[in-house]
């Protein structure tokens, strides 16, 4: 009984700690509810897709896919091309996805094949593989683009004539998905303000009289994310999903039952990489600028940190973990700098917190995972002995 209670607490310790921190930090920051909700909605739209792309490899027992940065790079290459060709709006986004997909598939197959040779060490392998592919990506973008790969738009190229600039403006697709279906929640006095700013009509408008200010909802993005969730739910019910669950729990048994283990693992990574590619495109259309050499860097780290904060573990993650994680992780990012400033006059504590927390939480999750596995192994050994004999 006590052990059960302990297990429940231990299982949800991470989200609990974040809820407590937020509960203190929100009033300290002094932000209004509408501001917080606006920020959160934006960030949910921006990040959820990337985080959701992590779920399938976890199901297949491959741990946290640090290799998702490969997909992010593929997405960025797609974006660079549409910027060069000047294709804007939704067609631009779709074209970027179209270009990114084959690159992501190839990278995913490569990543999966490497991971099949490093079974049991998938996470560190994919992490290092991320660095390696980053090198290839930088070489492509910095030397080949504009030289071998035709890039003509001078706004993209470095002044030397080849290589892409560090900051690329994505004005053509900025917010294009977020604002595809204009939606707004307004308080009474906020509505006029909104219309004057946007100068257009909201497709969906909800009025909440008690709300101060107005909140724009990235409705189309949220719909895409919802579709993705439906996909995952469906995927879990398929034979392929069932096979992945089986492999995730015991590769040897799955293999002896005739499930093609290596192939299925590669499929899991390919799906994850392709989805990460789309996720990165959605992320960047929200941001509006592409940091050619850095944008993908932190995509993996922050997504993984958010997922873990949502209560997921290396071997178990659900859709709920994604959203709880996104909300808690970003809530803390929003309020921590202001709370830090109001508390000790130092806004930088928020930035410090961001890095400290993301790396710390990943380290804790890995340690917890190892500890849990040891405990399970011990329990398995004990159960072999039967309940007779001492303990």
């Amino acid at each position: 009984m006590i052990r059960k209670l302990f297990d429940i607490i231990a299982g949800n310790a991470v989200p609990a700690v974040f809820i407590i921190i937020s509960a203190f930090a929100i009033p300290l920051s002094g932000y209004s509810a509408s501001y917080l909700i606006q920020e959160l909605l934006t960030r949910i739209g921006r990040n959820s897709f990337l985080i959701l792309s992590l779920l399938i490899p976890i199901m297949a027992g491959m741990g946290l896919n640090f290799g998702m940065v490969l997909g992010a790079m593929a997405g960025q290459i797609g974006l660079l091309f549409i910027c060069d060709w000047g294709i804007v709006g939704i067609p631009g986004m779709l074209l970027a996805c179209l270009i990114g997909t084959p690159i992501a598939i190839v990278l995913g197959i490569f990543c999966g094949a490497v991971m099949n040779r490093a079974k049991g060490r998938e996470m560190v392998t994919s992490y290092i593989l991320g660095f390696f592919i980053n090198g290839v990506y930088q070489m492509t973008v910095l030397y080949l683009m504009g030289w071998i790969i035709p890039i003509t738009n001078p706004a993209l190229l470095l002044s030397r004539g080849y290589g892409v600039r560090n900051a690329v403006s994505l004005l053509g697709i900025r917010g294009i998905l977020d604002n595809l279906i204009p939606a707004i929640i307004t308080g009474t006095q906020g509505a006029g303000q909104f219309f004057s700013v946007q100068g257009g009509n909201a497709f969906v408008m909800i009025q909440l009289p008690f709300l101060e200010g107005s909140i724009r909802i990235p409705l189309a993005t949220l719909i895409v994310i919802a579709l993705f969730c439906v996909f995952i739910v469906w995927f879990r019910k398929t034979k392929l999903g069932q096979d992945m669950r089986a492999i995730g729990q015991n590769q040897a048994v799955a293999d002896s039952a005739g499930i093609p283990v290596n192939r299925t693992r590669i499929i899991a990574i390919v799906i994850s990489t392709v989805l990460a590619c789309y996720g990165q495109i959605i992320y960047l259309q929200n941001m509006g600028t592409l940091n050619t050499y850095n944008s993908h860097d932190q995509a993996g780290m922050f997504s993984i940190a958010a997922l873990l904060i949502g209560g997921a573990s290396v071997s178990r993650a659900s859709i709920a973990n994604v959203f709880v994680g996104v909300i808690l992780f970003h809530l803390m990012f929003i309020v921590a700098p202001m709370a830090g400033k109001n508390l000790i006059g130092e806004a930088q504590i928020g930035e410090y917190f961001r890095v400290f927390v993301s790396y710390g939480i990943i380290a804790i999750a890995l340690v917890l995972h190892a500890w849990k596995r040891n405990r399970e192994r011990e329990a398995a050994r004990r159960s072999l002995r039967g309940n007779k004999g001492g303990e």
Partner: protein
Amino acid sequence: MSDNNNNAPLLRLEHIGKEFYGNRVLSDISFDIRAGEIIGLVGENGAGKSTLLNILFGMPVISSTGGHEGVMFIDGRKVNFTSPNQALAHGIGMVHQEFSLIPGFTATENILLNREVLNGSTMSYVFSDRVSTLDRQAMNERARAAINTLGVNISPYMTVSEMPVGYKQFIEIAREIDRKNTRLLFLDEPTAVLTETEAEILLIALNKLARSGIAIVFISHRLSEVKELCSRVIILRDGRLITDQKAEELTTRQIASLMVGRESERREVPQEIPEAPVEPDNVNYTLSPSPKKKKKKIKPALKVDHLWVDMPGETVRDVSFEVKKGEIFGIGGLAGHGKLGIPNGIMGLYPAGGSVRLSGRKLTLNKPRAALGRKMAFVSEDRRGVGLLLDEPLDWNITFTAMQTQGRFLIGIPYIFQIRNEHAMRKEAKKFIDQLEIRCTGPHQKAGELSGGNQQKVCLAKAFVLRPDVLLICEPTRGIDVGAKTLVLDTLRNYNKENGTTIIITSSELEELRSVCDRVAIVDEGRIAGILPASSPAEEFGMLMMGEKMRVALAATE
């Protein structure tokens, strides 16, 4: 079951044999299995059971080592399996000793693993069947049907990790039954993990299965179960088929003696070596009902009470015994029953509990250092892994433990500055190289370069250097040739005689134990089945190994 050819047996083996690298493990095995038959397959470790199964299932280990001799027929047609999938396709199923179930899956999901019932969908035409969703309801029904065939009541929705061990066994069997074409089922020690009631239910279920026409090969070391369940018993020994008889024609005692072989004519063997310095009453220590038995005067060198050890594959459940000072005590039993776990647990190499007293004083468990500090020495069964530093020279290997735990072979001030005394190390190594006739180029040769027998001698030397009071040795002759075997055993015997050291030998080779030891304990399923004087007839030991209880063995001696 076979409609077209009713006379042909389901499976016929003709002159099956197998050599591994010139080492014959199986020769001239021929027998038939008919539909609905239950056959008991028994044999000691190394009798060739697993090789036979590997051949039947077309395991890659057979084809990669040059195939096998003889031919197999199924329904009168010659077959030659090159992969387990072919055997499955011919309706041969196997339930392994270790569970191959997925813990987080329900009974249904496990029974239908990779044979799930799928909903048809248009997606499956575009991609493959793998994108079709599962038909949970149909799956549960099929699982329930398979479970019902066994006559047990297990919910198909139950998660395997939450099941008692016995249920898991049933799920494994249900999985094989669900395969529509299964006609021949091999069960490898299915009752080993079951409680008595569960085992009974299983036996009833198997009978029911056999009546439906499925032939069953039941591999077990529990002879009473074999006798109860099987219609025929096939006994293997040293790779040969010793007997293939109706079960009712054999008593469990006969089966045991046929299995162990070496009838009573060898009974005298151990008596040729009466040199062990033991008092007469030691010999019949546990079993003897002799009224003359004197009060024990000496404290036992080692007293083990309710020891349990979590050594993977060699679980010790509840073991108690006493070893007299100066005695050579043997621990025998089948592989996987925990005999290796006992010395490993006492030395603290695996998590252990219970109480171990060394000359009356309690020993701290789970700390190898504590055991070594109490003048115990250990020769591991894992010679190359635990026993030796393969890339280091012999003198290092021989003196290493003494240096680490007793601070010998060092010069300088303890705890402050110490260096190795190379000269003393070399001298000590040389002494043992001469004494044990270790074949090497000198104390500087690397341990990894020696042959198995000589490596074992190095391990012994390493233990002897510690000048132990109690010496624990696991599998002293495993993997070494016959000449070296005698030498190792003689060395142990002499060492015991000269120094009065208490020696505990754990070995799979019963004959070896009987020839060296004063008393031999037989371990069965993690417990001591009985302790007999080494001069007892081999079949007594055989009975104990086969899980026949103490009483039976005793009754037989009278």
